[in-house]
C-alpha cells in the first residue's frame, strides 16, 4: 500500500511537482527568444539603474504595473508604436518589475508620455499639487540626487525605437520668434468653427488640463520652482500655431507633450479653445 510508506508519499509529491517545474520553469528558461533585446528595449544608464534600485526599494511596483496587456482595456498605456509590451521590452531588466496591482497608472511607456525629468521630480515631491485626487505618497523626504535618479529611470521607461520628444526648457521664456519653422505655416482646421473645437476640447480640459492649470485655468503653483501657465495670459500673447506647438511638445520644466496621447485634431481643438478662452469663459 502506497500510503503505508511515508517515503513513497513524499516521493510522489516530489515527482508531481517535478512535472510542473519541467513544464512551467525549465521550458520557458530554455526559450532563447525570451532573452533577446531589440531596438525598442530600454538601455539604462548608470543613473537610471540607481533609480531602478530606488523604485524597488520604495516598493513602487506594488501600485504601478509595467506591462501593457494585449487587450483594448490597456490602450491608453500603449507606447508611441501603439502596441502592448512584449518579452524583448524586458531583456535588460533584472528584476523585472511587471507588478500585479494598478492602484496608479501603468509605467511601461511613461517616458514617452511624460519625457520631462523636472515634471517627475516635482510630481514625486508633491503628487497632490499636480492632481488633488492622487493618492501617491510624497517622496519629498528623499535626497535630491535620489529623486534625480528615480526621474532618470522613469523617463527611460519608453519605446527606444522611437526618438524621445525634443522639448524646450521653459515655454514662458519663448516668443513667436522661437516657434520652429514647420509650425509657422500650419493651418488651423477649426478656423471659423469655434463650436466644433469647444465640443472636442472641453472634456479633454476637464480630464487632463485642470489638474495642473487649476479649475479656472489661470495657473497654479505646483512646486517651489514651478508655476503652471495662466492660459488667459498665454491666449493674449501667443498665436494659435504657438499654442498648438506648446501643447504638442510640452516643456522640460513640466508641461507634458501631448503628441503621443492626443490626435492632431484634438490638439488643434485645444489650441483654438485657449486662443478664444476670453470669449468662451470670460
Amino acid at each position: 500500500m502506497l500510503h503505508r510508506n511515508a517515503a513513497l508519499v513524499a516521493l510522489g509529491a516530489f515527482l508531481l511537482l517535478s512535472f510542473a517545474i519541467a513544464v512551467t520553469v525549465a521550458l520557458p528558461l530554455m526559450q532563447e527568444e525570451l532573452y533577446a533585446a531589440d531596438e525598442a528595449t530600454p538601455q539604462y544608464s548608470e543613473l537610471a539603474l540607481k533609480g531602478k534600485q530606488i523604485y524597488q526599494r520604495e516598493g513602487c511596483f506594488y501600485c504601478h504595473t509595467q506591462q501593457v496587456r494585449t487587450i483594448p482595456n490597456d490602450a491608453a498605456f500603449q507606447g508611441p508604436n501603439k502596441r502592448p509590451s512584449r518579452p524583448s521590452d524586458y531583456a535588460n531588466d533584472n528584476p523585472v518589475l511587471l507588478g500585479t496591482e494598478r492602484t496608479g497608472p501603468d509605467l511601461k511607456f511613461v517616458g514617452d508620455r511624460l519625457p520631462s525629468k523636472d515634471w517627475h521630480i516635482g510630481h514625486l515631491k508633491n503628487p497632490r499639487a499636480y492632481d488633488p485626487r492622487s493618492i501617491m505618497p510624497s517622496y519629498a523626504h528623499l535626497p535630491e540626487e535620489e529623486l534625480e535618479a528615480l526621474a532618470e529611470y522613469l523617463v527611460s521607461l519608453r519605446d527606444w525605437s522611437v526618438k524621445p520628444l525634443q522639448q524646450p526648457e521653459r515655454l514662458a521664456d519663448l516668443t513667436e520668434a522661437d516657434l520652429p519653422e514647420e509650425f509657422r505655416s500650419l493651418q488651423n482646421p477649426f478656423a471659423g468653427d469655434l463650436q466644433g473645437a469647444v465640443a472636442i476640447a472641453e472634456p479633454i480640459i476637464a480630464q487632463s488640463c485642470v489638474a495642473c492649470h487649476g479649475p479656472d485655468l489661470r495657473g497654479k503653483q505646483l512646486t517651489e520652482k514651478v508655476r503652471s501657465a495662466d492660459l488667459y495670459e498665454r491666449s493674449q500673447a501667443r498665436s494659435e500655431q504657438f499654442l498648438y506647438w506648446a501643447i504638442t511638445v510640452g516643456s522640460k520644466l513640466g508641461m507634458p507633450g501631448w503628441e503621443r496621447s492626443l490626435s492632431e485634431e484634438q490638439r488643434w481643438a485645444l489650441a483654438t479653445y485657449i486662443k478664444n478662452i476670453q470669449q468662451i469663459r470670460p
Binding site: 500510503h3 503505508r4 511515508a6 508519499v9 513524499a10 510522489g12 509529491a13 516530489f14 508531481l16 511537482l17 512535472f19 510542473a20 517545474i21 513544464v23 512551467t24 520553469v25 520557458p28 528558461l29 525570451l34 532573452y35 524597488q56 526599494r57 520604495e58 516598493g59 513602487c60 511596483f61 506594488y62 504595473t65 496587456r69 494585449t70 482595456n73 490597456d74 491608453a76 502592448p84 509590451s85 518579452p87 521590452d89 524586458y90 531583456a91 535588460n92 531588466d93 533584472n94 528584476p95 523585472v96 511587471l98 500585479t100 496591482e101 494598478r102 492602484t103 496608479g104 497608472p105 501603468d106 503628487p127 492632481d131 485626487r133 493618492i135 505618497p137 510624497s138 519629498a140 523626504h141
Partner: protein
C-alpha cells in the same frame, strides 16, 4: 550540559511567536490601508515619513504569511504529526531552536524591508541572507518531522493529514529556493523569465505550503471535534493526489494577457481550471464528515471557524480558476478584486483554520482550559464580520475599477483612483474590526496560558472520539 524540553515546547513556542507576528503584521496592514485614505499622514514626520505604502505593504505580507501563518503551521505540524503517526516529536530541542531561528528571520525581515532592503519580487522581497535562514527553518522542521514519522509506533497506513504534511514538507523548500533567486545575492535570470519564476513561487507557496498544511489540519480537527470518521477515504486520496498534480503549473495565471508566451499562459489557465477537482473533492469530504453533527457548531467556536473556513475555501478556489480565464482576468486583474481574493484564501480560509487549531491545541499543550468562551465567540464574530466587510468591499471595488478601465480603455485613469476612496475607507475600517477580534484572541490565549483552569480531556464536544478518530475508513 544538555538542554531538555518538555513535550509540546516547540509547538507552544511557535504559537506564541506566530501570534506576535500576526499582531504586528496586521497592524502594518491597517497602517497601509490608512495611508491609502490619507497619503499625506506621514509627510514631514521624522523617520515615519520613510514608511510609505510601498515599504509598509511587504512588511504586512511577509509578517502575516511567514511570521503568523507559517509559524502557526509549524506549531500545527509539531503537534499533529506525532499524534497521527504515533510516538513523540523527534526533537523538541531542535523544534525550539527552529522557533528562535524563525523569529530571528522575521525580525530581520521587518527591519530590512522598512530600511529599504526590498529586492523587487513580490513575496520574495527579503535580502538573500534572510532567505537562507527561512530555508533553514523549513529544512529543520522537515528533518524533525521525517524523523518523527520514521520512529512512529503506528505502523499501519498513514493518516491523510500525514500525507499532506509530508507532501508539503518535501516540496516547499524546493519551491522557495527556485522562487527566491536560488538564494543568491544576484538573480541569474533576466527578463520575463524572472516574472515567470516569481509567480511559479508566488502561487505554489500557496499550493504546496499554505493549502496542504491547512487542509491536513482540517482532516485532523474535524474528526476530533465531531467524533465522526472521515466521510470518504477514496475522496481523501483523489483530493490529495490531484492537488499535488494540478497546482504546480498554475503560476503564470498571474501573467494572463501579459508579456509572456501564449502557451505559458494557456497551460496555467488549463491547470487552474482543473483545481476545481481537488477543491470540490476536499470540500465534499469535509462537509460529509460533518454529517449528523451540525448541532455541535452552536457551542464550539473551533467548529465555527472550521465550517466557515471551508465555505471561504470553496469561494476562493472557485474565484481562482475563473479569474485565470483570459476574459475574466481582463476585468479583474490589477484591481482590488485580487486583494479581496488573496484575503479570502489567507485570512478567511487558512487563518481561520489556524484559529480553530490553536483553540484545540492550546489546552492540550498547556494543560489549561480556554480562559473565556465569551471572548472566543467575540473573536469569531469580529473576525468573520470584519473579514466579510473587507472581502465584499474589495470585490465590488475591483469590479468598479475593472469596468471603468474597460469602458475608457484606461484613459482618464485618475478618475478611477478617485472612485476608490469610499472603498479604501471601508477597507481600513474592516481591518480595524478584524484586529480588534485578534486582540481579544491574544488576551484569551495569554490568560489561558497563565490563568486557565486545569484542562481535562473530554471537555470538547468531540472528545468522545477515539484517540485516532482518524482511522481511515478503507484501511
Amino acid at each position: 550540559m544538555r538542554l531538555t524540553y518538555r513535550e509540546g515546547a516547540a509547538a507552544r513556542a511557535f504559537i506564541y511567536g506566530g501570534l506576535f507576528w500576526m499582531f504586528l503584521g496586521m497592524l502594518f496592514g491597517l497602517f497601509a490601508a490608512v495611508l491609502m485614505v490619507w497619503p499625506d499622514l506621514i509627510v514631514g514626520l521624522p523617520v515615519l515619513e520613510y514608511f510609505t505604502f510601498g515599504r509598509v505593504r511587504p512588511v504586512h505580507t511577509n509578517l502575516v504569511l511567514f511570521g503568523w501563518l507559517t509559524g502557526a503551521y509549524f506549531a500545527t505540524l509539531f503537534y499533529m504529526t506525532p499524534r497521527v503517526v504515533g510516538g513523540k516529536l523527534w526533537s523538541e530541542g531542535l523544534g525550539v531552536f527552529t522557533a528562535l531561528l524563525h523569529n530571528l528571520a522575521l525580525g530581520l525581515t521587518t527591519v530590512s524591508l522598512l530600511a529599504g532592503g526590498n529586492v523587487g519580487r513580490e513575496y520574495a522581497e527579503t535580502p538573500w541572507y534572510i532567505k537562507w535562514i527561512i530555508t533553514a527553518t523549513f529544512l529543520l522542521v522537515a528533518v524533525n518531522l521525517f524523523m518523527t514519522v520514521k520512529n512512529r509506533t503506528e505502523k499501519g497506513e498513514l493518516y491523510v493529514s500525514a500525507w499532506y504534511f509530508l507532501g508539503a514538507l518535501v516540496t516547499t523548500p524546493i519551491i522557495y529556493v527556485i522562487g527566491n533567486q536560488f538564494l543568491l545575492p544576484q538573480n541569474p535570470i533576466w527578463g520575463v523569465n524572472d516574472a515567470i519564476l516569481n509567480w511559479f513561487y508566488g502561487h505554489n507557496i500557496l499550493g504546496y505550503w499554505f493549502t496542504p498544511v491547512g487542509v491536513g489540519a482540517v482532516y485532523y480537527l474535524l474528526p476530533k471535534l465531531t467524533g465522526n470518521p472521515i466521510y470518504s477515504h477514496k475522496l481523501s486520496m483523489i483530493g490529495f493526489w490531484s492537488i499535488f498534480w494540478v497546482y504546480g503549473p498554475t503560476g503564470a495565471h498571474h501573467l494572463v494577457n501579459g508579456p509572456v508566451p501564449y502557451w505559458v499562459q494557456t497551460i496555467a489557465i488549463a491547470f487552474s481550471v482543473m483545481l476545481i477537482i481537488p477543491v470540490w473533492t476536499v470540500v465534499t469530504n469535509f462537509y460529509g464528515t460533518m454529517k449528523g453533527k451540525w448541532h455541535l457548531v452552536r457551542d464550539s467556536v473551533p467548529l465555527k471557524f472550521l465550517t466557515t473556513a471551508i465555505v471561504f475555501y470553496f469561494i476562493t478556489c472557485f474565484q481562482g480558476p475563473m479569474q485565470s480565464l483570459r476574459s475574466v482576468s481582463a476585468i479583474t486583474h490589477f484591481t482590488n478584486w485580487v486583494v479581496g481574493h488573496a484575503h479570502v484564501a489567507l485570512l478567511g480560509t487558512f487563518s481561520f483554520i489556524m484559529y480553530a487549531a490553536i483553540y484545540y491545541m492550546l489546552p492540550r499543550l498547556t494543560g489549561r482550559a480556554i480562559y473565556s468562551k465569551a471572548l472566543q465567540e467575540w473573536h469569531f464574530h469580529l473576525s468573520l464580520w470584519g473579514f466579510l466587510l473587507m472581502f465584499i468591499d474589495l470585490t465590488i471595488a475591483g469590479l468598479v475599477q475593472g469596468a471603468f478601465w474597460a469602458q475608457n480603455q484606461s484613459a482618464n485613469f485618475i478618475e478611477g483612483v478617485a472612485m476608490m476612496r469610499p472603498y479604501y475607507i471601508l477597507r481600513a475600517i474592516s481591518g480595524a474590526v478584524i484586529i480588534l477580534g485578534q486582540v481579544l484572541f491574544g488576551w484569551n490565549v495569554y490568560k489561558t496560558a497563565t490563568a486557565g483552569k486545569p484542562f481535562e480531556a473530554g471537555q470538547d464536544a468531540g472528545e468522545a472520539a477515539p484517540a485516532r478518530a482518524v482511522e481511515p475508513a478503507g484501511a
